[in-house]
Structure formats: C-alpha cells, structure tokens
Symmetry: C2
Subunit: 383 residues, 2 copies
Amino acid sequence: MSGGGVGRVKTQRVVLFDRDAPLELESGVSLAPVQVAYETYGSLDADGANAVLVCHALTGDAHAAGHHGNPSRRGWWDTIIGPGRPLDTDRFFIICPNLLGGCSGTTGPSSVDPATGRAYGLGFPLLTVRDLVAVHRALLSHLGITHVHAAIGGSLGGMQALQWALDHPGEVERAVMICASARLSAQNIAFTAVTRAAILSDPDFQDGNYLDGPSRPARGLSLARKVGHITYLSEESMRRKFDRSRRDGAFAPMSMASDFEVEHYLDHQGESFVERFDALSYLYLTRLMDYFEPFSGDRPDLAGASTRFVAISFDSDWRFGSEHSRAIVAELERCAAKARHVEVASPWGHDSFLLDLEEYHRVVAEALGEDVRARAPAPMGRR
Amino acid sequence: MSGGGVGRVKTQRVVLFDRDAPLELESGVSLAPVQVAYETYGSLDADGANAVLVCHALTGDAHAAGHHGNPSRRGWWDTIIGPGRPLDTDRFFIICPNLLGGCSGTTGPSSVDPATGRAYGLGFPLLTVRDLVAVHRALLSHLGITHVHAAIGGSLGGMQALQWALDHPGEVERAVMICASARLSAQNIAFTAVTRAAILSDPDFQDGNYLDGPSRPARGLSLARKVGHITYLSEESMRRKFDRSRRDGAFAPMSMASDFEVEHYLDHQGESFVERFDALSYLYLTRLMDYFEPFSGDRPDLAGASTRFVAISFDSDWRFGSEHSRAIVAELERCAAKARHVEVASPWGHDSFLLDLEEYHRVVAEALGEDVRARAPAPMGRR
C-alpha cells in the first residue's frame, strides 16, 4: 500500500442521451442532450465484476480522488479511495460521475437548453433520485459494465445507491448508504426550504435567468451554504473547533461584523462555495432530496436478491442521524432484503462521511467485502 | 379565578433618560433620550413588595397580557399572566417593558438620533444585557419600586433576570430564567450569525439606512425569522405538526415553490414577522445575546443574598436546552447562590416557554412562591 493514494487523474465527459434517444425522466419529461462528467480510478477486471460506483452528495462532483495537477489539492473522497484504502484501487474499478442536475460537467439547470440556445434556468425539469440513477446506469452501460460490486455514497449519494439497488437489485451486489435518509423529516425539509428561500429571494437570482448576465446570486448561495454547514457539523464539533473564540481576542470591542471564529468560518464556507457551485443546481438537488421517499409506494420483494445493504451512520450526525439509517434498514427488512445498520462513533456530525476516521473506514472496507482480500495495516502517521 | 384573564390594557410610554441625564451604556457610550414603552397588570401593594418584572425575549414587546381592544388578539404571555394564573394579577403587580434596542415603543436603532434628525440605523451603539437591565431599573424607579418579588423571562428575557440578580441581588427576591443561556454555544452563535447575514446581505438593508426610504429589508428579515423558527421548534414538534404533509396532497406534482406544509408554515412566519418587527432591532438584540457571558469575569459572592434563582428548561429545547440551564445553576452555585434547575418535559422545543403547558405553569407558579398563597384548581376546559 502506498501512502500517496491515487495520482493525477482527468475528468472525462460523454454524451449519453441525445435528441434521438433522450432521457425519459420519472416526471414524463424528456431531456436531451445529457452529458456526464466522470472520473475513474483503478482498472476494470476482465470479467467486469469489480466496478464500484461512487455517488456524490449535494455539493460534490466527479473529482472524488487523486489530483488534477496539484497533488496538494485532491478529490473530495481522496482519503477513502486509493491503493490499500477502503475503496481500494488495487482491487476495484471506481467510477464517480457528476450527478444529473449538477454543475460540474454533467447536464443540469445551468446547461444550455437546445430549444432556446440559453441556459435552462428554472425551465429545467424537476428531477428525482431515480432520474439520477438512470444516468448512472447509462454511464455504466457506456463503460461496458452491467453490474457493480458496490454502489456507495454519503447523504444524497447514499440515496442513489439505495434507489438503484431497490429498483435493480440484480445490478448491485452491495449498496452502501452512509448517513443517508429515505424520508426527510419536517425539520430536514425546513432547512432545505430556507436555503432555497435564500437563493430565490436574492435579487441577483433574477428568476433563474442570471446565467446569461454578469451577476450571480452569490449572497443567496453563500447564505444557503452557511445554513447547510451548520447542519453538517455537530454542536460538539463546533464547540471543539471554535467554542466562543474571537479572532481579535476576548477583550476586543463588540462588533456587528464577524468576530467569533465560528462566524469567520461560516463566511469562508459561503465565499468559497459560490466560486465552485451553481445556485440552480443547489435548488434542484435539495428539492429532489425533499421528495425522496422510496418506500412510500409498493414494497419491492427483495427476498431473492443477492444485494447486501449496509446503512452506516454517525452518532453525532443531526442532519441524517442514526434514526434515518435505522428507518432505512427497517424498511429494507420489510422488503425481505439483506440489510444491516452500523453506527459509528464520531463527534464530527454529518461531515464525518468525508473524514479520515479509522473506525469509519474499517466499516466501509468491511461493507465492501474486506473479507475477500485482507488489507495491509495502515502505516503509522497516515491518520 | 376567572377564565377571562387580563382585560383591556394600554401600552404606556415614558422618557427615562434625556440629554441632561443620559443612559451610560456599558460600552461607555451615552444614549439619550431613552423612551420606554411598558404595560402593567394588577396593582402595586402599599408596601411595594409585590412587583414582578417580566422581561421579554428577542422578538417580544411590552404587550404581554390582555388586549388592546380586540379580546381575541391577546398579549404574547397571556396564558401565564392573569387572575389565578401563575403570574397572578390578583397577587402581583406585573410590569413588562419593551427592551432597549427594541422596535415597539422603546428607544432602539430605528429611533431618531437627535444628533442627526434621522434614524440611528447602524449608528446605534451596541448594547449589553446589562444595558437592558439599567433601563428596567430606571423604569421601576420611575414607578416607585425599589425591589421586586421576581424578575422572570424566557430566553433573552431570562438573561436579563439573571444579569440583574447577579449585579443587584438585593433588588430581586426571585430570578426565574426560563430556557435561558449564560453562554451561547458556537452553534447558537452560528445560527444568529446566519440570521444577521440574511438581513445584512439584503440589498434593501442599505447599510441600515432604509428607515427614511420606501423599502424595508423584508426578504432578509423574513429569512432570518424562518431560520430562527426552525431552532424554536423541536424536530419532534415539527414532525407532530407537519411531518411530510403537502398542501396539495401526496400525488400533486413536485414543485420548486412551497409545497410541504412545513414550508408554508415558515413562509407565514416570515411574512407576518416583517409586518411587526424591525431588522435593525433583530441585529442588535441577537448580537447582545452572542456576547452575553455574565460568568466570564470575577465571580460575585452571593452567599449573603436572599435571591432565589430558578432555571427552568424544556427537555426538547435545542436552542437553549437543559445543558444551558444546568450550566447557569452550576455557575450560580460557585457564587454560593441559592439556585435550582427544573427540567420540564415538553415536546415543543424552545417555544414551550410561550405555551400553556400545565406542568410548566405549575413550575413557574412554584418558582414565584406558590406556597405563599394556594392557587385554586384551574377550571376544566381552560387548558
């Protein structure tokens, strides 16, 4: 095992649906063209049986591991993907696509609508998790993959793994859903609602027609990110990181401007987010999470399916805490599926799924079938 | 006991500080004039010993009980104040002033600065809880009251009762602090920070100079209120009230607009709030809560004080939950004060302090010295 992880990688792009064969969305709307940006790590076995699909969360992208030229700026899940890491690139062929509706190379509301020659804006159709999965399946088909060793993701990523395995259990050997939810609570929806209200009420949002103009709804998107971030960290996590520290010290005069370190942190999160993310994608992807409720209709019978479902949660997560994972597993058991829940202790809240936490990584490796090939112990100092 | 509560009341106004004798703020800034709006219920005993000061919370006002002409529109704490109620107007003379920095008759950032003839805006000085208490004390002095049977309030209201009793224990026989905090957590501050960011980033805020113009930062203030409201309700409370109900039913098409009942509820809260509250007051009053930390300096010795401190919390409150009340009592005990904490079971979160909850009202009555005069049982049907 190398401590260096995945090396230099490149995001690839492919058009999977076009006017002749558009993507038929769950809503009945047809969408074309649909381009997908994706990255891959590792090599596909000759029998094509070692593929692992990584589904990213709300604000992720296809760049999950490695770097694009600067080794110090690495993909969002680089600590978990690589040679000898839980998503072991010596063993698996890992595919990470940017989601439908996203803003990092895959078709979304900021893409050009061929019917008008301008960005879709709010004219983009509303999406479901099933639509995201349909595009994943098309990408895998394009890559010659008919079924995967595992589909895995955190938060919204876990929702995709779940929906796919529910609808097509024969295609997914292991569905690993990390701090996911199959039914947002009223409080969850309330939070996404205020983040959308922040964007929609920013005058620069211009009813979604800002993409052809000079301004972006940066204030609204920044505010949305700040609210989101509060829910990604646990209260304990914020206390450990910031407590009541003030940038200019405890004896500085009071100020209406940012003063407490936690305020500066949120400012930074908001500012850096607007540099890399699009407000319309934020609206569309939060909204499909609100509506996601895969167990609300007829229950699939998974008694004969080989899919193993693992729901992993973190005890300090208050966005999609353990009760969400327990609910997923309870529903899966009602479908006669092979499902289990593992709660990992971590003080870092929802964000834990992005962190290099030993016990968490052990649980993920196990969920991917650690038993199949033993991992070498991690060298001292990497964690 | 009458089921009718306090009858028709009128908000009174008095100027307590003027240019010749300005209010000296803790920051060293002088403020004049300072007008205070207040209401009173009940009668002051001849010995002046039955006064109870009610301190309101962030968005409250002087109109705590009774009505202003329409008996169906009653004060914000009407269920707890009245003949035979825990704040028994047959027994107590109850005073409720609008806070310094507020926007309902007491001087605040939307008041006219005599130096400029225009609204203060962000030129208004930053305040501390001690400043709010200084104005309360001046009002009581104006009313001929030298000490009170009790000072009581919820949330920011409890902070005032606490600060007053710490600084002047001889003036406060009982300090009743309901779901208060003596030290906001990083998460608490993060939430107030995003509500302020919502206001400050609204173009209609115009650096606080909107008061002489035609527009108000309604979008920002509405958004602030929505975020605040999420923290006032518990997750359980939102689940019971709304769960995932959709206004147009479970089979209506998805929508980017408000659809879930919890969204409509937040919209309503935001819209009605901007009709009655000022964005600048919101900024100033949230900010003084962030800085409030009465036990951070030298510890007062309260061994000889007769003041009885009672901290009341609600088990589902996640804004200022029981850990905040326990911390207050722990600090008070280090000051050798007579302090106790009572946790009340309620599923309704922080908002519980405004609700008509039997056990809560019993605890408040007891904190006010229920033992002194037994209450008649509540008639059936009132609760």
